[in-house]
């Protein structure tokens, strides 16, 4: 059985600076989405428990080939990558059709794992859209996965309850960031990762039509205006004085 993990390359958000309320993305290095690393770890653990093959899929610009090495180093066996510089900033519906078309090329798919949300967009759409295109059952916001032959026992964690579900494979899950603690690959694993098989796909290789019109348009994307006093407080008594002046103490 093949287990698939979908991982998105995103600019490292810790390094995105704001200038004149505009985010400055140029020059920011790429990384894999934080929750996507949890998805990968979930895949690695299941692969180890069941002896499955673990395939990571990703769509994005040419840099993905480099970025994805980390996933191969951590434990994915192969990668299927859709690479095209046109794909930068693509919308969720297009991402989903590319990923679904890629997954269709893979045989004996048992489980497809997504993150609950991508690092930059965090819209939680892509997994659900892929499940629909592939006509597979899905469970989102998963905190536990157990595979037992042809079925899976899945725990979905909602705001106010937890559901224990039994689902026939193949299926799609999206996992929560606290499902596990992702392992960090060693230097020797990183060196060896370059030799793992990679299937590079171009848009022409996929059996889909890329729509001419965008479904979503972005009118603006700005950091909110902030206006803070930024007073440096030196001691507890200074702090108390400030809180008193603001009317929070001694009311």
């Amino acid at each position: 059985m093949n287990i698939i993990v979908a991982m998105k390359q995103v600019p490292d958000l810790q390094q995105v600076r704001i200038r004149n309320r505009e985010p400055v993305i140029e020059g920011v290095p790429y990384t894999l989405g934080i929750i996507d690393k949890n998805a990968l770890e979930a895949g690695i653990q299941l692969k180890e428990a069941t002896g499955s093959n673990l395939i990571v899929v990703s769509a994005g610009n040419e840099e993905v080939e480099e970025t994805i090495k980390e996933a191969l180093a951590a434990g994915a066996d192969e990668a299927y990558l859709v690479l095209d510089d046109k794909l930068d900033g693509m919308e969720s519906s297009l991402t989903a059709s590319l990923l679904a078309a890629t997954i269709k090329k893979i045989e004996e798919v048992g489980l497809v794992i997504f993150g609950e949300g991508s690092g930059d967009n965090y819209s939680g759409q892509v997994g659900s859209r892929v499940a629909e295109i592939l006509d597979l059952p899905q469970v989102g916001y998963v905190s536990k996965i157990e595979l037992d032959g042809t079925t899976a026992k899945i725990t979905r964690s909602l705001e106010d309850c937890e559901e224990l579900l039994e689902v026939q494979l193949p299926m799609v899950v999206t996992v929560l960031g606290d499902i596990n603690e992702p392992r960090i690959p060693s230097v020797s694993q990183i060196l060896k990762a370059g030799r793992k098989p990679k299937e590079i796909l171009e848009l022409d290789d996929l059996d889909i039509e890329i729509p001419k019109d965008k479904k979503i348009s972005t009118l603006s994307n700005l950091a909110p205006e902030t206006d803070r006093k930024r007073v440096a407080v030196k001691s507890v008594s200074d702090l108390i004085t400030a809180l008193q002046a603001e009317g929070f103490v001694g009311r």
Binding site: L13, P23, L164, I216, N221, F248
Partner: protein, 310 residues
């Protein structure tokens, strides 16, 4: 464009959707229709709010089966001739939004925190880049699925003119079997309603939590936290998380202890009126977004602060 359909399995959130739908309808002249699934209580509540309500009743639709709920909604959209679907952006709603949008070949936006209708288009604001920016986006397809962040709109108030019809749909066999459903222990405290919050992060030691609690008590406030405090350390319930995947709080005062200030956290507290931050790293980003910034070791400061406020 013919109408707006709203659906949420949570009545409280459905009432918020109704307010938002009426806002869009006012500008676009659309009808607002409400779908309820197997909940007499919700159906009655929506009717009491003056809503044109459709109830799928007595048919087995497993809410845990997102594909099944999406199919039901797709059918309702066809039957009721609606172009915009409003869902709640809680976990169930978000999961449903993507699946339904794919079925309808619709554009979809989730976690939408405010709406504005301009030139017949619904402009949606949502956090982007982990919360560092707010992007305003609009869906260009006729069919639109919009999931609204909980508590972004007031619940609709009672009014006349509501109606109730039952609706039947085709139901297929479900691939998902619910073995068990356990409710999580709810928290009695609503950090979003608190005027004063003491927010703790990973710079805290567990032994000092009592001091933080005592400070909160002295100020008449509540304790909240960054995500790892609840999800990794489990010192506090998840209801207390501030941020992108937690709650967006707007207290009068937030005292932030040992939080680094990453974007996903900041988005939950940046609307606070006054921010005090204490951190031992002078370069911690949180200090830049504070009104009162203190570079200090919490182990030293907390006993003193708690005693002085005591």
């Amino acid at each position: 464009m013919a109408g707006i359909l709203i659906y949420s399995e949570k009545s409280k959130l459905a009432l918020e959707l109704l307010t938002a739908a009426r806002l869009i309808a006012k500008d676009n002249g659309l009808d607002v229709k409400v779908l309820c699934i197997n909940s007499d209580e919700q159906a009655e509540e929506m009717v009491a709010r003056g809503a044109e309500t459709y109830h799928i009743k007595g048919q087995i639709i497993e809410l845990a089966d997102t594909a099944a709920v999406a199919s039901a909604l797709q059918e309702a959209v066809g039957k009721l001739d609606t172009s915009i679907v409003l869902l709640s952006s809680n976990r169930r709603g978000k999961e449903l939004a993507g699946r339904l949008a794919q079925k309808l070949d619709a554009g979809c936006l989730s976690d939408v925190t405010s709406l504005q209708v301009k030139g017949g288009k619904v402009q949606c604001s949502r956090n982007a880049l982990g919360g560092a920016t707010i992007s305003v986006q609009q869906i260009e397809t006729d069919r639109q699925v919009i999931a609204l962040a909980p508590r972004s709109f007031e619940p609709a108030s009672p009014q006349d003119g509501g109606s109730l019809k039952e609706m039947a749909i085709l139901v297929g066999a479900s691939n998902i079997k619910v073995l068990e459903s356990r409710s999580k222990a709810g928290d009695v405290v609503d950090i979003e309603a608190a005027e004063i919050l003491v927010v703790v992060g990973q710079g805290m030691e567990q032994a000092d939590m009592l001091l933080a609690e005592s400070i909160a008590r002295s100020l008449g406030g509540e304790i909240a936290c960054s995500k790892p405090i609840a999800t990794d350390k489990k010192w506090l319930p998840e209801d207390r998380i501030v941020g992108l995947s937690g709650k967006k709080c707007k207290p009068q005062l937030a005292i932030i202890l040992g939080v680094s200030g990453q974007v996903q956290f900041n988005v939950g507290i940046r609307d606070a009126n006054t921010i005090v931050a204490i951190n031992n790293d002078e370069n911690a980003y949180i200090l830049q977004m504070a009104d009162y910034a203190m570079v200090a070791d919490l182990k030293v400061i907390l006993p003193e602060l708690s005693k002085t406020l005591g």
